[in-house]
């Protein structure tokens, strides 16, 4: 096979991007990745500006999923609160950009909004991690915080609930957010359709590569160690609380950026971003896409959201039923997620060849069906032990 020797500079970068904490490290992976990026970049040219504008929502969601993958997949912190930072940033962007007005207002609003999300994440993270809240309690606490935000924002309907000239709008939300723009009067760019798509794609790409560097660095090892066994990691001398707080804050910033993009995509912001359903959706994306894979989280998000939209257009009232069925079957059949599942398959095929691969697949399906029938009382049963509640509480 061709053995491309990379210049030393690229090699260093390559080393940073690759590591045991990401699934795809081989040249084949990067080649496929490059092809994928070219396809994504060409999408607006092929499908048109409108379709690209629509798809850019999924890319913005990808940022949200990436943030969750970092804290959940890599550090083991399950949080329902990513949408809280997503929403806080979106609302802040709306308030600042509409108050200041113009492209300059929007340029200022972007860092302010991300700062608001980052600060919220820092405060909540400090409250939780330095207060000793762990595991499932973190999940419930972040969920409750998100719901408090929803309840609060939904009743800010009167004109007394205004910040500057912008009414928070309560249940009706804040309409009229401008398309994404940067610059000052006279020298600004406003993005929509294809332009917006390429911008979001670029942001997502940078965030993804940055996250890869992070998780493959020494810091990334600390994250994974905390996920596997936090006590042992602490005993080895790592300041677990500080690491958790740092990654939680970083995730909040990423989610916040996603929120700004969401607000400028729909030109609208309302309390439904804080709802129970929307808070649960990122967890669904990341679980199905592969929580321990950054790319899996992003790709899983795009696939699921695209599918949900397709269902709602074509399946009418059965759409939600199909989504539920897909969720259940995917989790039961492909436990690690779609992308890790693909990778496992690829690894297997490349080691054992196609014929054996198909044989193995057939045997696996057979065993699984037998086990499932067994659980129904036909044949032998095959169960794992649920841990006691005390273990879960740790």
């Amino acid at each position: 096979m061709m053995d491309v020797t990379l210049p030393p500079r690229l090699k260093r970068i390559g080393n940073k991007l690759n590591g045991p904490n990401t699934l795809g490290n081989s040249r084949a992976f990067w080649a496929a990745f490059a092809v994928g990026m070219i396809v994504m970049a060409a999408y607006p040219l092929v499908r048109g500006s409108y379709a690209a504008g629509q798809f850019s929502l999924f890319l913005a969601y990808g940022l949200l999923a990436l943030s969750l993958s970092l804290i959940w997949g890599y550090t083991g912190i399950l949080s329902f609160g990513q949408v809280a930072f997503f929403g806080i940033a979106g609302y802040t962007y709306a308030i600042v950009s509409l108050n200041l007005g113009g492209a300059f207002g929007q340029t200022v609003a972007l860092p302010v909004a991300i700062a608001a999300a980052t600060l919220s994440a820092f405060v909540l993270g400090y409250f939780m991690f330095y207060g000793g809240v762990q595991d499932v309690y973190v999940a419930i606490l972040t969920l409750v915080v998100t719901l408090v935000l929803e309840t609060f924002m939904a009743q800010t309907a009167g004109s007394e609930w205004s910040i500057g000239t912008v009414a928070l709008g309560g249940f009706n939300g804040i309409p009229g957010i401008r398309n994404f723009a940067l610059g000052v009067e006279g020298a600004s760019i406003s993005l929509s359709g294809s332009g917006f798509y390429w911008f979001v794609l670029g942001v997502l790409l940078l965030a993804y590569l940055g996250a890869r560097v992070l998780v493959n660095s020494k810091y990334g090892y600390a994250l994974v160690a905390i996920r596997e066994d936090a006590e042992r990691t602490a005993m080895l001398g790592y300041n677990v609380k500080r690491v958790k707080l740092a990654v939680f804050t970083l995730s909040g910033a990423l989610a916040g950026f996603g929120g700004v993009l969401y607000a400028t995509w729909g030109n609208y912001m309302d309390p439904s971003v804080f709802s129970l359903v929307f808070a649960t959706i990122p967890i669904v994306w990341v679980t199905l896409g592969g929580r321990e894979s950054l790319l899996g989280a992003i790709v899983g998000t795009m696939i699921i959201e695209r599918l949900r939209l397709w269902f709602s257009v074509n399946a009418s009232e059965f759409a939600i039923v199909f989504v539920g069925v897909i969720l259940m079957t995917t989790v039961l059949l492909v436990p690690r997620g779609i992308l890790p599942g693909i990778k496992d398959g690829y690894v297997f095929f490349s080691e054992h060849g196609i014929r054996e691969g198909i044989e193995h697949g057939r045997v696996t399906i057979q065993t699984r069906i037998q086990a499932w029938l067994g659980s129904l009382g036909i044949g032998q049963s095959d169960t794992e032990t649920p841990p006691s509640s005390e273990v879960v509480r740790e």
């Binding site: 084949a28 994928g36 939904a154 309907a157 249940f171 009706n172 309409p175 309302d270 790709v299 709602s312």
Partner: protein
């Protein structure tokens, strides 16, 4: 890689195919689909699943009934109507995506969409950006002045303006308001104060209840303690429907007025009598209106949809507005949205079988309807009777604010609220 059983080329191919498949999805046709000028394209986005499906499904049904009737009678200008009606699942992001799709990809000539005001606000930026003709058919808080939006439902001012004076006249001047704690509820409560002041009454107690609340024990006790002459109950959503059983079993027998209960979510058919005894509602329509033309409409509705639960207030707005659109297109001679808009702004009459509630008219310069308002009473056996009836035009935008969307204000895109114009509302 030691063996070349899986070549790099096949990996690239698989990778590209995988990503490509994910992107392409299954939607057919590229952007800008064929704009076949031999059909008239209409988009109807109404919730058939999710939180609002109870009130959204009748709206969809009524639109479908109107379209089928029109098509059976030759269509609009001889052209058949082609309906695009995906289900937005009570999800505002879904609404945004589907609205964009209907406008950009299906090129609809007119759009009906949304139950809640939040949905309307979520898609209004898209509507305004694309200059899409849009009919919003739910009764709502009022005040929307937008060149692209035609509001077919009765406003809070019209609804409360029919029932509150009636209640004051029959029961007294001491009012207790309980309202859902969000925009519509709060603005309606403001209107109750304004109308009370105009009629020599006063709202002495106000209580706002979050939409998620279904426990009304404290509210009921408070009302009993205050002992008002009547209660204005502006309750919204399924959780609030628990109020009626609780009030009845608690023995609270103060008369109650409403602009939301019964006509929208037909609690009087879903709850066992006498849960809604002595409730008076101000509506432009209820299924039980005893006129010939309405009874004819209701039988047509159930013939077409035997499984339907109820023909609710907002669904009839979907029905008549479809006919009104047909008349406007035929008068303008084209489906060009600007021309149709101008035709509508010249004022429209909706009469006869086209309007089951009675003969009504569109106030062109403000894009709102004058409605045939009725005060309808529910008794202990859940029978509905009409107690009062009068035509009430839209007053807030046309008189108090004074705008003209067909003329000088033709570029407006905003919503006005009573607190800006009435002292009573701001308290």
């Amino acid at each position: 890689m030691s063996d070349n059983r899986v070549s790099r080329r096949s990996v690239l191919a698989t990778g590209a195919a995988g990503v490509g498949a994910a992107l392409a999805g299954c939607s057919g046709g590229g952007g800008g689909g064929g704009s076949g000028s031999d059909t008239i394209k209409i988009g109807v986005l109404e919730d058939r699943s999710g939180n609002f499906s109870l009130v959204g499904t009748p709206k969809w049904r009524a639109s479908k009934l109107a379209i089928e009737e029109i098509n059976d009678n030759g269509g609009i200008m001889g052209q058949q109507i082609e309906l695009f009606d995906p289900d937005p699942q009570s999800d505002n992001q879904r609404y945004q995506q589907l609205t964009e799709r209907l406008i950009q990809q299906e090129d609809v000539d007119a759009l009906w969409a949304g139950y809640s005001s939040a949905t309307r606000e979520a898609i209004r930026p898209i509507i305004d950006r694309e200059d899409q003709l849009y009919f919003y058919t739910t009764q709502y808080e009022g005040g929307v002045a937008d060149k692209n939006v035609f509001c077919m439902g009765s406003t809070a001012r019209q609804q409360l303006g029919s029932v509150v004076p009636y209640m004051i006249e029959n029961f007294g001047t001491d009012i207790y308001t309980i309202a859902a704690d969000y925009n519509f509820g709060q603005l309606s409560a403001d209107w109750v104060k304004v109308i009370a002041q105009e009629n020599g009454a006063s709202v002495n107690n106000e209580e706002f209840i979050p939409l998620s609340n279904q426990n009304f024990g404290s509210t009921i006790s408070n009302i009993q303690d205050a002992d008002p002459d009547f209660v204005m109950a502006i309750l919204v959503g399924n959780n609030h429907s628990s109020f009626w059983n609780q009030r009845t079993s608690a023995g609270l027998d103060i008369p109650m007025g409403t602009s939301t209960v019964m006509a929208q979510s037909y609690q009087h058919k879903r709850l066992e009598a006498p849960a809604l005894a002595d409730v008076y509602g101000g509506f432009n329509y209820m299924e039980e209106i005893p006129t010939d033309r309405n009874e004819d409409y209701v039988s047509r509705y159930y013939d077409r949809f035997p499984d339907a639960g109820y023909a609710n207030q907002e669904s009839v707005n979907n029905y008549f507005s479809m006919y009104m659109y047909k008349d406007a297109v035929e008068a303008a001679g084209t489906t060009d949205q600007q021309a149709v808009r101008e035709e509508l702004e010249g004022g429209m009459e909706v009469t006869g079988d086209q309007s089951p509630e009675g003969d009504i008219s569109l106030q062109g310069p403000v894009h709102h309807m004058s409605h045939n308002m009725r005060v309808m009473r529910c008794d202990e056996e859940h029978n509905i009777t009409v107690e009062d009836e009068r035509m009430i035009p839209e007053q807030f935008l046309s008189e108090t604010v004074g705008i003209d969307l067909s003329g000088e204000d033709s570029e407006l895109e905003r919503q006005f609220t009573p607190t800006e114009y009435y002292d009573a509302a701001g308290e």
